[in-house]
């Protein structure tokens, strides 16, 4: 009677509602701690370049002389080193994941 247990499981899951989500109608809500994407506020930035130095992949590029800050979302691995290093707290880690990219996206602030 070893087939009985798998039949019970299969019948129950056939009658139950599906375990999958109806994406894109239903989107998954991330948790508070989820590492989604890097969000940046240019207003408090002092251009000390600490975040660019700590970034292991080189995703953040800071221009000290012309006051620009750029991040390449394709290179960012969401390690959080820049968030911990920023003294002015202008970099935060937001839980919403970045959308899928077809081309390389570099977001620039001045």
């Amino acid at each position: 009677m070893s087939w009985f247990s798998i039949s019970a499981l299969v019948t129950r899951s056939a009658l139950h509602r599906p375990a999958t989500r109806l994406y894109p109608v239903e989107k998954r809500q991330p948790y508070a701690k989820t590492r989604g994407h890097i969000a940046f506020k240019i207003t408090d930035c002092t251009f000390c370049t600490l975040c660019a130095v700590k970034c292991p992949t080189g995703a953040i590029v800071v221009g000290k002389t012309d006051n620009t800050w750029a991040i390449d979302h394709g290179r960012c691995i969401l390690c959080g080193n820049c968030v911990e290093g920023c003294r002015e707290s202008c970099i935060t880690l937001s839980p919403q994941p970045w959308h899928s990219m077809l081309v390389q996206e570099v977001i620039r602030y001045r």
Binding site: S5, I6, L9, V10, T34, R35
Partner: protein, 360 residues
Amino acid sequence: MSKTTIVPFGPQHPVLPEPIHLDLELDDERVVQALPSIGYVHRGLELLAERHDFIEMAQVAERICGICSFIHSQGYCQGIEQLLGLKVPPRAAYLRTMWAEMSRIQSHLLWLGLSADAFGFESLFQHSWRIREMLVDIIEETTGGRVIFGTCKVGGIRKDVDAETLQRVGRQIREIETAFDEVANIFSIDHTVRQRTVGIGVMTAEDAHALGAVGPVLRASGHAYDLRQLGYAAYGELDWEPVVETAGDCYARCIVRLREISQSIDLIKQCLDRMPDGEIEVTFKGKRPQGETMIRLEQPRGEVCYYMSANGGKYLERFRVRTPTFANIAPLVHMLKGCELADVPVILLTIDPCVSCNER
């Protein structure tokens, strides 16, 4: 002497999660000899120690493999902590143990699904991965990432988990346990599963010792050898025994992993009950690692060795990882001799190959 045919197995094959190549020399459906050939995902990660300083290297070590990522970073951090002479606070040790056991459960559940897929039992594959989703949601809630946890750092852990979340984790672990017990019961008594795995790929206890097998492959042949008994992190203070089976065939290896999942669930419950309060990290401003060390941990697949050598600079001189799949290649070659062609995927998956760890 009869002629033999050589059939290439891999690197693309439906049962393989990662690319590995085997040249099977067949004598009319029976394997005479198998020659493995690796290197499809060799990224030279050990050389990256010269480019990233020793604090950042913890994040590189985490990304050696996707399935066993947390234990790689834990091993790296333990090695650097030993070189610096640091002692991690107890709360960090217990949280690291809890996450390591969660990593072990999700790895074994992933393996269970792939192994069921290898002998064609697709619905069991999907049910075990459905249970794995519940676990990965807990991991995301407590650490922030589903696969790459990002919590281990030199000196402790990065972010604390509050008491309310830990209680929620405890409740969900009990739900996972109920769901998993049903699937484990099906796996162990089902007639089809037993037909495909009992008596296949037998390895005796002497062969397992002589060939240097590690992990569940060694424990299924009768040796009670589990490196968590060394007592690193919080394992010295918890109650548990290594899981051993004696048959040495594919069925025994599967049963060892199923029992290890139940053991890990029990270890997580013990950790949650005994979680101490306090600090989560210890600082070490200005110190640099000096000397050399060899750290051994128990990954889901077996024994992993980290060798680190430093000379007081910012970068490590040598960082070497010897992963368990690399040690299990020799037993695999031995087991494949004399088996049938249809048993090759089953045997290959019962050693649980993690090829991206294999080649770093």
